[in-house]
């Protein structure tokens, strides 16, 4: 029997909850950023473009540490767990905004034109015509991104969030069973990602019908 298995399983919950919250946050940020990049206001486009290029051009490790030290200096005092979720959400949100942008532009102009000719306002067209189709196109790359996010949540150990990886380090420091412990941790991450993949495949099937394209 592996020492510390109950603790590992408990920490798995923290990893799962942090991942789910970060995914939700990333979707909101991604959507908002994609909208900002298409905005008619130059300033919004510039800010969104800057955010995306900063995230893309720096390591996640540095981003997490950066946010961890930046927030208190701005007078924002929140738990490490919340800081971690924000960092993961900000990181993933920038990539998601790029995916949304790509999917939206790949939807043919005729789809929008037919809606315009029927007197639909632009906001309705986005909500009813563009996004539902874009979401379908985005599901496979989104799944990859969310899988990466679950694995990247291991980096939250560096700011002291007691998730799976951090817990494993603590267990090993007393049990001296690094090999068994890390193998167990690897299996848990694998299962988490596997379940995520199953959910994604289910969504893809239930919602694409023969429609997509």
């Amino acid at each position: 029997m592996l020492t510390g298995l109950p603790e590992l399983l408990e920490a798995t919950q923290t990893t799962a909850v942090a991942s789910i919250l970060a995914i939700a946050l990333a979707l909101v940020i991604g959507l908002a950023t994609a909208a900002a990049r298409q905005s008619q206001w130059l300033i919004l486009r510039k800010i969104a473009g800057f955010y995306v290029s900063v995230i893309r051009g720096t390591p996640l490790y540095i981003q997490i540490l950066g946010i961890y030290f930046l927030l208190p200096s701005l007078g924002i005092d929140i738990p490490r767990f919340a800081t971690g979720v924000i960092a993961l959400g900000l990181n993933s949100g920038s990539y998601i905004s790029e995916m949304i942008g790509g999917a939206v532009t790949s939807i043919s102009k005729g789809q929008t034109e037919a809606a315009r000719a029927l007197a639909m306002p632009m906001s309705t067209i986005q909500r009813r015509i563009i996004l539902p189709q874009a979401l379908r196109l985005m599901l496979p790359p989104l799944t990859l991104e969310f899988t990466a996010l679950v694995k990247n949540s291991a980096f939250l150990s560096i700011i002291g969030v007691v998730e799976l990886t951090r817990t494993a380090q603590q267990i090993i420091s007393v049990s001296f069973q690094p090999t068994q412990t890390w193998i167990a941790v690897a299996i848990i991450y694998f299962v988490l990602c596997f379940v995520l993949g199953l959910v994604a495949r289910y969504l893809e099937r239930s919602f694409s019908v023969q429609a997509a394209r």
Partner: protein, 264 residues
Amino acid sequence: MSGTPIVNLRAVCKSFGDLQVLKSVDLQVKLGEKICIVGPSGSGKSTLLRCINLLEEPNSGQLDVAGTHMDFEPGSARKFSEKEVNRLRQSVGMVFQSFNLWNHMTALQNVMEAPIQIKGVPKAQAAESAQMLLQRVGLGNKSSSYPSQLSGGQQQRVAIARALAMDPKIMLFDEPTSALDPELVGEVLDVMEKLADDGMTMLVVTHEMGFAVEVADRVIFMDHGAILEDCVPSSFFHQPKTERAKQFLARLLGRNARLQTPVE
């Protein structure tokens, strides 16, 4: 009421960059009229249609469509609000060359979407009217099919039903049969003919000269962004006035004549 103008364009100009696509076009359409617009490709036919429902905004000129007046002053920065534009578009249905059905919705959902979103029609009522419209275009049994499961001709008929669902006063057809396999052209033209018989005002950009002869009250011939002829079909086809119309017809009819020579 027949005789009332529903569309009135005056001196409408439209350019894309340096290319002037419409050169001061005047056009009056009376309620109930069926007009076919013909001409070589690139002559501005589609752009003319697209200016009527403001998918393209004219650079200058005036436009009256179904009671909405719009004045386009050259160089003026004034843009018409989305609301004004959409009020005009509610009276104008449009059918595209490439159908443009929404791929993520069934035939029925395609037809009921705009009445629900734009006019606030209750869902059940919209579905009922949509089903009736699909029946009218001969597709009552295809209401739950997605566009990808329908032939081109069927998709175009759904697209016609979708436009009719908004109860337009005028219908614009932009080469509605050009993207279809030859054997599917007939079913779409049949629906359009029925629509014409029901008294719909129609502006049809087409290469189907048979349809023009049978259905149109007027044929408009366009070339290089200008209307060169505007007359009843018989005089256009038998006594075209301009040289360019003669050439256009000769090319078109010559091709058909070759096709009709018996092959041993």
